[in-house]
């Protein structure tokens, strides 16, 4: 898994490539936490290049969303591939965080 991060307009955007599972999710959680701990609690996850997500990966995203909300921000996700989208739908994550189609919409949902 590769993670690239950029901060624009007060939002941290993480572009993730590869698999988010029990082996890689600790690295992702640490990266996402660094933004929130550093005061940027509006976080966007670009998942266009994520090919697989496991329960541990979902847990990492939910924990980050919880911390982001506690910091008066939020977490939005965009660009899910169909296999990943299937996992998101089964877990009903779209009921607790914005799961949208592109980055502009993610920014709007986080109050850009």
């Amino acid at each position: 898994m590769d993670i690239n991060q950029e901060v624009t307009d007060g939002m941290a955007v993480y572009r993730v490539t590869g698999r988010i599972d029990g082996l890689t999710s600790p690295d992702l959680e640490q990266a996402l936490s660094s933004s929130i701990n550093g005061g940027t609690s509006r976080v966007i996850l670009d998942m266009r290049a994520v090919t697989y997500i496991s329960s541990a990966g979902l847990r990492c995203i939910l924990s980050t969303a919880k911390r982001a909300k506690a910091g008066q921000g939020g977490l939005a996700v965009f660009g899910l591939q169909s296999a990943v989208n299937e996992v998101f739908e089964a877990s009903g994550f779209n009921t607790v965080l914005p799961v949208v189609s592109d980055e502009n919409e993610a920014r709007l949902r986080l109050g850009a």
Partner: protein, 219 residues
């Protein structure tokens, strides 16, 4: 025992304070809830992971708890990556009396005490009253916070709610009115975790079997 595992917590919640026995409402589902709790704890400890089709070991290193390590060893030795439902059925139905095992370990940990009580002066049965009840109050408080608060719950509390929902604990600690009002929220949170959904599915299989058996019973 440094802290209670989810399997320990759900057993504490399933106990009836007065009788010191598993509540009748929960008894038929106790082993399934414990099996689910074991898998959930291993997942939280980053030893196993799951997806929609399979459950697999990501780190076979023992966690230092005999119940969890025994399950982890068994999963690690299985070359096929069956799904979580299959493992829940395996541990719940083929590993003996999980409920008694957890009750006894809670006695050893000083959370419960074992008492032999007489019923109608003839029958003897073992009761497990709580020593302080602190663990039950703490777990109940977390459950109620998840149910009645709209905030995103922690993974541990999400999983505990799944077990409480499937085992009948929620029916025991909430009124019918509270359950009705919270039903959407409970459904939402239970869906978050794959193992929680599997526990619910296995519980539904048992309920169906009970229903079929009651219909098939001769008059």
């Amino acid at each position: 025992m440094e802290h209670l595992t989810l399997a320990d917590e759900i057993v504490v919640l399933m106990l009836d304070d007065e009788t010191g026995a598993i509540r009748p409402l929960c008894a038929g589902f106790a082993n399934v809830a414990i099996a689910g709790g074991i898998l959930m704890e291993l997942a939280l400890l980053a030893r196993i992971d799951t997806d929609l089709k399979s459950l697999y070991v990501i780190d076979p290193k023992p966690v230092g708890d005999e119940m969890l390590d025994s399950a982890l060893q068994e999963i690690a030795a299985e070359p096929r990556h069956d799904g979580s439902k299959s493992w829940i059925r395996h541990f719940a139905f083929h590993k003996g009396d999980l409920t008694s095992h957890v009750l006894e370990r809670l006695v050893r940990a000083g959370i419960l005490r074992a008492e032999d009580r007489r019923l109608l002066w003839m029958f003897s049965r073992r009761a497990y009253p709580q020593n302080t009840g602190r663990e039950e109050r703490e777990a109940k408080g977390r459950l109620l916070a998840v149910v009645f608060d709209d905030a995103i719950p922690s993974p541990r509390d999400t999983l505990l709610l799944s077990l409480a929902d499937s085992s009948g604990v929620l029916d025991a600690i909430l009124s019918a009115d509270e359950l009705r009002k919270a039903s959407k929220r409970i459904e939402q949170v239970v869906a978050f975790e794959e193992i929680g959904r599997s526990v619910k599915a296995v519980e539904a299989e048992i309920r169906l079997q009970i229903e079929i058996a009651s219909i098939a019973r001769p008059m």
